[in-house]
Every structure is written in C-alpha cells, then in structure tokens.
C-alpha cells in the first residue's frame, strides 16, 4: 500500500519532457534537476518524496532514455496513468519505479488530493472522494522487480555484475 499527494499531468507526456536530452547521459541526481523543466518548470521544488504522478494517455511515450531513473531520483512514489507507453513501463520495472496503468485515473483526482494505491489487489483510491478504480493487473514477477529496485540489484545478487563502489554509488546513485 502506498499513499501520496497527487500531481496532475495531461496526455502525451513524453520522455523528452520527463528527462530532456541534454541531461540523459548525466548521473541520476543531475537528471533529476531537469525533470519537466519545459512543461512544468519549478515542479521539482514543489513536489515531495512519495508524491504520485497522475496522467492521461501515453505517459512516457518516446525514447528508451532512463526517464524512470530521473523520477526515482526525485523519489516519486508512483506513476498512475490512463495508459503508459510499453517501453517506459518496461524501464519502470528495470529501474524500480512503481507504475500502474489505470484507465480513467486522470479523471479520478484533482491536483493535491491524496491517492492510495494497493499493489496487492491493484486498486487506486481517492482518499478525499472515496472513489476507487481498478488498475490493470501486472504480473507478480514485474511488481516484485519494481519493488526491489529493478534489474541491477538482482544481477548483483546473482553475481553477474559487481556492486558499485562507494565512490561510484555516491556519483551515480539515484538517491539524493
């Protein structure tokens, strides 16, 4: 169960808006400073850790860039959208950002209301109005990977890659 303040975004929020091109090769902490700077400048200073992004259709359409990593670096609690681009969703799994498709969710909330999201029964609840919607169910293995930080911790635990050194972690980590 996850609870957070809702920020409303519209349809067709693409990856270039989430993470503008000039910053895609930079460390996650630097990427985070430029999230939505073209369409919603200043938002990164207003939002708080655990807040929830609620959007319309095609959230995350566009490139394979690590846009979910930049949102993770801002400690976004969860992304909910009427539809989510498949590649973006895949990157949410890989980078460990919670995201659910929930048809109609863009109409369920006003900005600033509280959302309550259950990843056990895939329900999204507006804590203010009490209204509830059903999200599209995601296979357990994918939810589990999202909740455990994505692919890298898994490959580390299986010995395929070495954990980052303390210096690398400080430089590249998504954590603020």
């Amino acid at each position: 169960m996850l609870k957070g303040k809702v920020w409303i975004f519209g349809d067709d929020i693409n990856t270039d808006l989430i993470l503008p091109t000039p910053y895609i090769y930079m460390p996650a902490k630097e990427q985070a400073r430029h999230v939505f700077e073209a369409n919603r400048p200043g938002w990164i200073n207003e939002m708080k850790a655990g807040d929830v992004i609620v959007a319309g259709r095609n959230f995350g359409m566009g490139s394979s860039r690590p846009a979910p990593l930049a949102l993770s670096a801002l400690s976004v609690g969860c992304v909910l959208a009427d539809t989510i681009n498949a590649l973006f969703f895949r990157n949410c799994v890989s980078f460990g950002l919670l995201a659910l498709e929930c048809p109609g969710v863009s109409k369920l909330f006003q900005e600033g209301e509280q959302a309550e999201v259950s990843f056990d029964d895939f329900t999204v609840r507006n804590c203010s109005s009490g209204k509830t919607l059903k999200a599209v169910q995601v296979p357990e293995s994918l939810i589990s990977m999202m909740q455990r930080g994505g692919i890298m911790p898994l490959l580390e635990s299986e010995g395929f890659i070495a954990p980052r050194t303390a210096a690398e972690e400080l430089q590249q980590s998504a954590k603020q």
């Binding site: 067709d12 693409n14 270039d16 808006l17 503008p20 091109t21 000039p22 895609i24 090769y25 930079m26 460390p27 996650a28 990427q31 700077e37 073209a38 369409n39 259709r57 095609n58 359409m61 566009g62 490139s63 394979s64 690590p66 990593l69 539809t83 681009n85 498949a86 590649l87 895949r90 990157n91 890989s94 980078f95 296979p139 293995s141 994918l142 994505g150 692919i151 890298m152 490959l155 299986e158 010995g159 395929f160 890659i161 070495a162 980052r164 690398e168 430089q171 590249q172």
Partner: protein, 422 residues
C-alpha cells in the same frame, strides 16, 4: 484460432506451443545490439560474463565522432567491452559505421523469425525484416548480455493490409503520417504490415514505416515476409532463419486496408505526430530556419536520392541551413558514387557523417530558441532537436527538400519531374 506473426515468433522464442495477448513470456534473445549510449556510467555496469558474445553487435552512432570528453570516455568503455568479450560484430567510427538500425539492416543482422533487442527506442526498424525487434531499456541490455534472455508481455495486434502504389514524391513517411493521423496511437498493440502493395515498397520504405512504429506507440512493428525481403536478407547473411507468416485464422484486434494511391504529402505540426498531421497546403508558407533529412527512419539511400532529385540544379534558400545525415557510411559512399552528394552540396546542403546527430538534438544541427525546423527524422517533440521553444514540423524528405529551397513549408510536387505526381 491461429497466431499472427509476433505471436508465432514469441511462441518459438519462449518454447511454447502458443502465446496469446496478456501472456508474460521469457524469450531467448537471438541478437543483442549495443550502441555508444549504453556505455555511459549512469547506465553501464561491468559484466563478469556474457552468455553468448556471438549474439552481440556493438555500433557507435548517437554521438560520433565523439563531440566531447564524456562521450569519448563512453566510447573507450565500449571498446574495452568489445575487446574483453571478443565481440566480432563491432562498428566503430570508420568505414563500416552507421546508425545502429541501419547497420542492422545492411549487414543482415535482423533475421526473419528471430528476436532482437537494443536499448534504442527505434529498434522496431528490424521489423521490416520479419524480425521481432524492439527497444528495451539500458538495464534490459545488461540482463540480456548476462542471461541471453528477456521478457515481453504479449499484446494484441492490428493488421494493416496495404494496397495500390505510392505516387512519385509520396513516401512511406507520408503513409506513416496518415496512419498516425487517422488511426492515432497504438498503445499496447503490435502493428503488422502486409498486402499486395509490398511488391512496390522498397526495403528502405519498409524500414521507414517499421522505425516509425515506435511513434505510433506500438510495441512490435512487423512485416509479412515476401521475396524482396528474403532476397535482401540472404544477400547479406549466411545464417539460417525461419521466416514467420501469420496463420490464415490469425487473431487481430482490427484489420485495416490502406490504398497507397490515395496517399498525399502530409506535415505533422510541432509537438507530436499522433493526430497532428495535415496536408502540406494547410501550413504552406510557414517560414523555416533549418531543414533536416536523416536518422534511422530517413537516412536511407532512397531518402537521399529523392532529396537530390528535388534539389538538383537549385539553391537552398538564404537563411536556411539544410543538414543531411546519411544513415550509414556505406549509404554515404553509395550516394557519393551516384553523384547524389555532389548535387546536395552544390545546392548548399551540409552533408554530415552518419550519426543520430540532429534528430536526437545531440550535435550536428541543434536548434536554437524560437527557431523553426522541418525534419524528415523520427520525432517532433518540444526540445527534441534542441531548445524547447524551437518548433519542429515533420514531413517526408521530398517535402523537407522543397521547403529548404523556398525557405517556407512547401509541397514537393512542383520540384519533382521524375514521375507521376499529383
């Protein structure tokens, strides 16, 4: 009920008798394509082992030659990876380099009936060869390198049956803009192309369509095999493959027929392509500062040829920068031998080396504040090619070239003598 092409390839690759929409499948990956972007420290992790080095292709394309020290360092990391694991199919800056999806096509790396992954979103380009190819993310690449597999969630498929023939000067890009405009986004859907019109659609044209499937928001975009496709692949690859055709009773979410004779030059207005294209006449006269022909979608030989046909004997308008980026150094050389490059340069166009370049807004033609560009590339999002205030119109290479000559958005018809055009 039978299976469509993507379902058949997913079934084979996952070792299942059949798959259906909604299934989560773990599949063996036949080809893993890495590019320079994978080797930046924000994404790259040193691997202790690679499951099958012979399945790996490495192409440097996004930022080549290295425009700054950060990129140069990433290239160095990539070269060391290639050396450490003995990767044979490596396309470094030089003779055999190009945009990864173009290299995958021209080298015959995308084999019909197989699975290919690359962490660039336009990987669907390989669908032109009946290959289940699609963009995944950076971490997926590390996973596939380590384990030789990846996962997909099977989605429903829309089938497009193409009939008729594109008129001269009307291109696959116009057909794409028509689909994006009329049928809009294909979220959580695959797109399958087939039909009698394939006979007259070159592999370049099919690659444009397959590449732009990403911009329809499609998962996989894939073509039914025909003799032209099979010959193209066999000329380039000795590897065996098993091309996949849809079953006669394959299930589709929808089946749509498009008459290519009815297509006309279109332009997508700035910001997005879905539901945003209009006839060229509706934006005729819009002033431009830059014109661009290039990218994995439109850096093909066909694209350079039609651009030269429009430009021949004329001059790019004063105040317009016309940047042309061939999709590979091989295409560049072929265009050079055909006299195309000379025509482009005589007209005042700037021809760059093969790279993602201006399309990605990385280098080689980045837009400044409030500029207007017309582009034959992949995306027209705000900020895609540079400053977020720049406006990007998207059109075919012929329309872009005609616009470069006049300095305003222009229908290509009046500049084309080569054939029958409306």
């Amino acid at each position: 009920m039978g299976m469509n092409i993507v379902e058949k390839i997913m079934a084979r690759a996952s070792g299942s008798a059949r798959v259906k929409p909604g299934d989560l499948v773990v599949v063996g990956v036949d080809t893993i394509v890495l590019y320079d972007g994978n080797f930046f420290p924000a994404y790259w992790r040193e691997l202790n082992s690679v499951k099958n080095p012979d399945s790996v292709v490495v192409v440097f394309d996004h930022r080549v030659p290295a425009p700054d020290r950060t990129c140069a360092k990433a290239h160095d990391v990539g070269r060391k990876f290639v050396e450490k694991f003995g990767i044979k199919r490596f396309h470094d800056v030089g003779r055999d380099q190009g945009i990864s999806h173009v290299i995958v096509a021209q080298q015959g790396y995308a084999l019909p009936g197989t699975v290919l992954v690359c962490s660039d979103s336009h990987t669907g380009s390989g669908g032109a060869f009946n290959c289940a190819a699609r963009g995944t993310g950076g971490p997926d690449m590390i996973y596939a390198l380590a384990k030789g597999e990846t996962w997909f969630q099977v989605v429903e498929t829309v089938r497009y049956d193409l009939t008729g023939r594109l008129q001269h000067g009307v291109s696959a890009k116009d057909l794409f803009l028509h689909i994006a405009s009329r049928y809009r986004d294909h979220s959580n859907q695959n797109v399958e192309f087939g039909g009698p019109a394939l006979t007259d659609l070159s592999m370049d044209a099919r690659r444009t369509l397959a590449t732009m499937g990403t911009e329809l928001n499609a998962d996989f975009t894939i073509f039914e095999p025909d003799q032209i496709m099979l010959d193209y692949v066999r000329e380039r690859s000795q590897s065996p493959f098993d091309a996949q055709y849809p079953d006669a009773d394959a299930e589709y979410a929808d089946r749509r027929t498009i008459d290519l004779d009815a297509m006309e030059p279109l332009v997508a207005l700035p910001g997005k392509v879905i539901g945003n294209a209009v006839g060229v006449s509706e934006v005729k006269g819009e002033r431009i500062h830059q014109a661009f022909v290039g990218s994995c979608a439109n850096g093909n030989f066909d694209d350079l040829a039609i651009t030269a046909e429009v430009l021949k004997g004329q001059r790019v308008a004063a105040g317009v920068r016309f940047i042309i980026t061939p999709g590979s150094q091989a295409i560049y050389r072929r265009a050079l031998k055909a006299g195309i490059i000379e025509t482009l340069m005589d007209a005042g166009a700037v021809v760059t080396n093969a790279t993602c370049g201006a399309c990605q807004g990385g280098h080689m033609g980045v837009l400044g504040p409030n500029e207007t560009c017309i582009t034959a590339s992949t995306r027209n999002f705000s900020g895609r090619m540079g400053d977020p205030s720049a406006r990007i119109f998207m059109a075919s290479p012929a329309t872009v070239a005609a616009s470069a000559l006049t300095g305003v958005v222009t229908h290509p018809g009046e500049f084309l003598r080569g054939g029958n055009h409306a």
